[in-house]
Structure formats: structure tokens, C-alpha cells
């Protein structure tokens, strides 16, 4: 598959990006995954499918999201011109809805009548519950029991939207276990169920399918930057949980070699501690959830839990295409700590009047480190992939402010 002239050709027909990706699932699921792939191959070359996708992007999600010149932060950093791609203004408050709209259209094409999803912070769960409400399909969301407690407002939101949230206590009761449980559900309900995976991970064709839905972000940036500055951006920065918002921004620019691309992982309490979620920085290749990719794991190949102040980033894996881009050296992957992200969260709120989610606060923390080293005409785009309303309780807690137990807004 190694076409040396492009970074955008993957995956190959077996779903591999180099040694990464693939279809490491139980036989019971294999025919289902092949069916999704067959349908995806048809859908992606069907103009009517994309017409419907873009209809919902425009009228329901509110796209295109603005490309905003963050002038005050640019002044503060004293270097690159910092632009925000404002996917936090999307309906439901994050980029996740781009993907769930795409996948529910796939489910509809395939005649599936029951939707399942996994969620960590609850953002993907909310985005899935939202499209299920819109299309009138029953929705079951698997969520780690610890996350159900940490993210109770999102659990309530999903319930209001008509979804059933099933707390997962197996394993360590976190996002990876929620994904295991969703896969177990799928194996048990093979006839009627479509699994809406929340990021660019899982077995082929999910990593490419989710990427292609999220690429609406990068495609818009290309046009909007052309309009604003008459040229390509110089640097792209995005945070990485499973890697979907980052891939959505990066992918359309991978073959523009002048564009520097930086992915920011959650460094938790520091990458010299055990409490981080920097799979690409400190993990090693392994096989989990249907694909080979960089994973946080023990020497014996047991999967470890990640840690991050941002519940949306603490997945111990990463989309396989990122693993491939790391090995190829096309994207530079770095990490920032919880505390750096918290500082960036507050900085952005005060300087721009935008309360960012803790996830893109990681990306912003890295931008704060590097922006000053670029010349004034350097164009930097940060993916502001989610808004921070969901995070104000976590932030208050870290700032030592008591907002009370019950009054969660």
C-alpha cells in the first residue's frame, strides 16, 4: 500500500495503514463488519449520500463552523496568527455530531433499527442520542461506571434524548471497557444493530469512514483560510483522544508538505508519571478493539487505563492512521499536562470570551508554548473541537471551588 507520493491513500483494501489498522474481531462480527464496509464503499461514491450528509451538516449541525482569528491570544503569544476552527459552535457542542450524522445515515441505508455506542466523557453518547432522536431509532449507550458518575449532566442529557445509558462495571469500568461492552452487545444483536463508533478507531472500515465524515472540518478550513489569507495555513494543531477531530482537520492537508501538523496528547500528571494518556508518545503497537495501533500496555500486553483531567482524552489507544503518520514522521505528536490544559482553559476564557472544552484546551496549551516562536505572518489553526460547558464542574473542583453537589446548571 505504500504509495510514496501520498499520505492520503490509506487504508489499503484490507484496512491496513502500514502495519496498523486491520480487522481484529471475532468471527461472529466479521460478516457484519464486511457488510458495513461493502455499504460504505457504495455510500462514499454516491452523490445522494453526501448531499444528505451536507444537508444535515448545514441545517442541523450549523456548518460551516467559523474560522475565527483569535486576535487577543495572538497578541498575547506575540508570534503566529492564531485561528480557531470553531467546531465548538456545532449543535451539541463538539465535532462528534459530524460523525454521528454520517453513521446514522449509514445505519439507515443498511436498514438497521437499533443503535449502540460507547462513550467516555459522554460527548459522543450525547451526539449519538441526538441523531437517534432525530431519526427515531432506539439508542443504547455504554459508559464506564466511573464516567457515569463523573459526567452525570451528560447522562441526564442522553436520557432526555431518549437513550438508555448502560453503566459498564466490567474490567476497569472506563472507556475501553465501554467499547468492549458495545462490541459484546453487537455480537449478541447481529441482525438489527448498527454500532456508531465515536472516533477514528475500531476495525476497518471505521477509521476511514469516521475520518471521511470528520474531514468536513479540514475541507472547510482550506476554503476559509483561502478566503481570509489567500493561502494555505502553515501549522495545524489539534488534541487527540481517539484522534477523530485531529484527523478531520489534518487529513485534507496531509499532502501539502509545507503544512506543519501537530497532534497533542493528554499528558495527565506528566509523562514521567504513570498517570497520563500519551499512547503515541509512550505506548507501543498492539492489538485492541479491532485494530493494531499504539497502546498503553504492560510488558505482557495487558491494556492499561489512561489518565487525563479531560474524560474525552483518556482512551489508552489511538486511531491507527495516527500511528502510521507518527511512524512516517508526517505528524509531530506531543503532550501537555492536566495543569497546562487548565491554564489554557482559563486563558482562553478570559482573553477570547470562549470557554473551551478541556480537550482542545490541551491543543491550546501547546499553541501557547510554540506560537511566540513563529513570525507574525505564520498562520496557525487550532481545532476548537468542543465547548467547555460540560467541564466547568471539573475545572471548579481543580480550582478548589465548591459549586455544591446537586446544582449542576
Amino acid at each position: 500500500m505504500t504509495k510514496h507520493n501520498t499520505y492520503r491513500a490509506g487504508a489499503d483494501e484490507d484496512g491496513h495503514f502500514g502495519i496498523y489498522g486491520g480487522r481484529y474481531v471475532a468471527e461472529t462480527l466479521m460478516p457484519l463488519i464486511l457488510a458495513v464496509e461493502t455499504e460504505w464503499n457504495k455510500a462514499k461514491s454516491d452523490p445522494d449520500f453526501w448531499k444528505e450528509f451536507h444537508y444535515y451538516m448545514k441545517h442541523y449541525v450549523g456548518r460551516p463552523s467559523p474560522l475565527y482569528f483569535a486576535e487577543r491570544l495572538t497578541e498575547k503569544f506575540g508570534g503566529a496568527k492564531v485561528y480557531f476552527k470553531r467546531d465548538e459552535l456545532n449543535h451539541t457542542g463538539a465535532h462528534k455530531i459530524n460523525n454521528t450524522i454520517g453513521q446514522i445515515l449509514m445505519a439507515k441505508r443498511m436498514g438497521k433499527t437499533r443503535i449502540i455506542a460507547e462513550t467516555g466523557a459522554g460527548q459522543h453518547g450525547v451526539a449519538t442520542a441526538t441523531v437517534c432522536a432525530l431519526f427515531g431509532l432506539p439508542c443504547i449507550v455504554y459508559m464506564g461506571a466511573t464516567d457515569v458518575e463523573r459526567q452525570s449532566p451528560n447522562v441526564f442529557r442522553m436520557n432526555l434524548l431518549g437513550a438508555e445509558v448502560r453503566p459498564v462495571t466490567s474490567g476497569t469500568g472506563t472507556l475501553k471497557d465501554a467499547m468492549n461492552e458495545a462490541l459484546r452487545d453487537w455480537v449478541s444483536n447481529v441482525d438489527d444493530t448498527f454500532y456508531i463508533i465515536g472516533t477514528v478507531a475500531g476495525p476497518h472500515p471505521y477509521p476511514t469512514m469516521v475520518r471521511d465524515f470528520q474531514s468536513v472540518i479540514g475541507d472547510e478550513v482550506r476554503e476559509q483560510m483561502q478566503e481570509a489569507e489567500g493561502r494555505l495555513p502553515d501549522t495545524l494543531v489539534a488534541c487527540l483522544g481517539g484522534g477523530s477531530n485531529a484527523m478531520g482537520l489534518f487529513h485534507p492537508f496531509l499532502d501539502n508538505e509545507t503544512v506543519e501538523i501537530i497532534g497533542v496528547e493528554a499528558g495527565g500528571k506528566g509523562i514521567d508519571t504513570d498517570e497520563h494518556c500519551a499512547s503515541l508518545t509512550l505506548g507501543k503497537p498492539g492489538v485492541l478493539h479491532g485494530n493494531r495501533t499504539y497502546l498503553l500496555q504492560t510488558d505482557g500486553g495487558q491494556i492499561l487505563d489512561g489518565h487525563s483531567i479531560s474524560a474525552g482524552l483518556d482512551y489508552p489507544g489511538i486511531g491507527p492512521e495516527h500511528s502510521w503518520l507518527k511512524d512516517r514522521g508526517r505528524v509531530n505528536y506531543v503532550s501537555v499536562t492536566d495543569n497546562e490544559a487548565l491554564d489554557a482553559f482559563q486563558l482562553c476564557t478570559k482573553a477570547e470570551g470562549i470557554i473551551p472544552a478541556l480537550e482542545p484546551s490541551h491543543a491550546l496549551a501547546h499553541v501557547a508554548k510554540i506560537a511566540g516562536s513563529y513570525p507574525r505572518d505564520h498562520l496557525l489553526v487550532l481545532n476548537m473541537c468542543g465547548r467547555g460547558d460540560k467541564d466547568i464542574f471539573a475545572v471548579a473542583k481543580h480550582l478548589g471551588i465548591d459549586m455544591g453537589d446537586t446544582d449542576q446548571g
Partner: protein, 283 residues
């Protein structure tokens, strides 16, 4: 069809055929509830009537398993179980039994991280006869299946009710030893199928391969096992045995006395069920 290397597995199925009966496969997780108790359980399985042993490699994220086997995996890991120690247990077993086949069953990552070449050499030397790797479908077979066959072991493929006629030839193409039919669409230890559910699937599979077929997932009682070997060549029991372990732990997951004999008792009852069915041609 893959080259059919002679192993303890193929010899066992030949013996079963000569004896005119079906086989009993038993699944336990290596090192559950701890190394010593797990070894005691392993050592007595064949004497209790197991014809082949499926030995589970503990893994943190067993996506095809139900609550009983998930918990057994985590218990073993908590007690420090590793793939290397799993092979040690097999070496111990082989000191007393050079006949009963042992099949390693589990997920790919611990094997991948161990390193395929070293792993196959170590496993062969320890006395392993074959592999069932749940998350390695034929689409990813170049990694372990072909090297395992080249190293003189069997690689057993799973087929499921969802494996349709179009796909079956692909699945059996490089299978060796036997075919494992997952009798339900679901995870281990949950639903059960009846022999009437199973029979048409086995008939379909037999159109594509001459390999013996073992049936697993959801077989709990001696009666289930007997019914299963009426249509299949062997019945595999896992969660029911693991449940005996689970039911005999104290609140700290430490074994209460007499666990191994209790597991062996269920194995002998299952074996009696399996052996009550006469499979001689024309019987």
C-alpha cells in the same frame, strides 16, 4: 485446505472416532484463581474425563467473553499471571500427560507482544498443540496462523451462525485440527443453543470441510453436552467450569478448600454425559 499436521489434537479425534464417541473439551483460564490452584485444576482435568484442554490466556480486555470468563481473566491477572507462566503450567502438565491435547485460547495482543517467533518456539517446546485466537479472523491469518502451522501446530478457526455459505470456504481454507463452531450469536456464558439449532449449521460447515467440529458457547450441563455431541464431534464447556471456581472463592477472591475436586467433579459428570452418546456409524 491447509496441510493437516499430525498433532495430539488430530490423534485425539482419530481415537474418538475409533471409540465411536464424541469428545469433551474443557476451558479454564490459566492461573485462575491463582497459580497453584490453577495448576491443581489443570493437572486433574484429563483424569476427570476431559479429552482436550482449552487453556485461556488471561487478557485485560476479553471482548468475546461474558462476565464469568471476564472475571476469571482479571482474577488471574491480579495474581500475576502471564503468558510465560501459562506455558510453565503446560510444561508441568506435560510431565505427567503426553497425550491430552492442549489448545491455547485467547486474544492476540499478549501473543503479539511476546513476539510471534519466540512464542511459537516456546509454546511448541512446552507442549502446546494448537491455538484459538478469538480476534484473529482469516483476514489477518498471515500473522500467526500460517507460522503456527509451519511450526507443526494446529490453528483452529471459529465459525459462527453469522458465517454464511459464501464466507465459509474462506474460513476453513487454512483451518487445521478442527473447526470450532460458536453455537450462538453472543458472548460466552450467556445464551444456549439447542442441538436442533446447531445441526443445520454443522451440516453447512461439513459441506466445506472434513475436519471434525467442536461446538462451544453456552454448554453448561451434562445433558447439554450429550445433546451437543449427538450432532457435533466434541462439546466445549467453559463458563460453567469457571463458575465452579467463582462460587468457591472467599470475599478476597482467594480459593476455599476443595475447589479443584469440585471442578473435576463437574468435568466427570460432563464426560459421563458425552460418553453416554453412541456415535458408532449405524448405531
Amino acid at each position: 485446505m491447509a496441510q493437516q499436521t499430525e498433532t495430539r489434537i488430530t490423534k485425539m479425534f482419530d481415537r474418538l472416532k475409533a471409540e465411536g464417541r464424541g469428545g469433551l473439551g474443557t476451558f479454564i483460564t490459566a492461573g485462575d484463581p491463582d497459580y497453584d490452584t490453577g495448576l491443581e485444576i489443570l493437572m486433574g482435568l484429563a483424569n476427570a474425563g476431559a479429552d482436550m484442554i482449552e487453556f485461556g490466556i488471561p487478557f485485560s480486555d476479553p471482548m468475546a467473553d461474558g462476565p464469568a470468563i471476564q472475571a476469571s481473566s482479571l482474577r488471574a491477572l491480579k495474581k500475576g499471571m502471564t503468558l510465560a507462566k501459562t506455558l510453565n503450567m503446560v510444561r508441568e502438565f506435560r510431565k505427567q500427560d503426553d497425550v491430552t491435547p492442549i489448545i491455547l485460547m485467547g486474544y492476540y495482543n499478549p501473543i503479539y507482544i511476546y513476539g510471534i517467533d519466540i512464542f511459537l518456539a516456546d509454546a511448541k517446546e512446552a507442549g502446546i498443540d494448537g491455538y484459538i485466537v478469538v480476534d484473529l479472523p482469516p483476514e489477518e491469518e498471515n500473522e500467526l496462523c500460517k507460522p503456527a502451522i509451519a511450526a507443526g501446530m494446529n490453528f483452529i478457526y471459529l465459525t459462527a451462525p453469522t458465517t454464511d455459505d459464501e464466507r465459509l470456504p474462506r474460513v476453513v481454507e487454512n483451518a487445521s485440527g478442527f473447526i470450532y463452531f460458536v453455537s450462538i450469536t453472543g458472548i460466552t456464558g450467556t445464551k444456549s443453543a439447542t442441538s436442533a439449532d446447531i445441526a443445520p449449521h454443522l451440516e453447512r460447515i461439513r459441506k466445506h470441510t472434513n475436519l471434525p467440529i467442536a461446538v462451544g458457547f453456552g454448554i453448561k450441563t451434562p445433558k447439554n453436552a450429550a445433546d451437543t455431541v449427538k450432532v457435533g464431534d466434541a462439546a466445549v464447556v467453559g463458563s460453567a467450569l469457571v463458575k465452579v471456581i467463582t462460587d468457591n472463592l472467599d470475599e478476597n477472591d482467594n480459593p476455599m478448600p476443595g475447589i479443584a475436586p469440585k471442578v473435576h467433579k463437574l468435568v466427570s459428570e460432563l464426560a459421563a454425559g458425552v460418553r453416554s452418546v453412541n456415535k458408532r456409524i449405524g448405531a
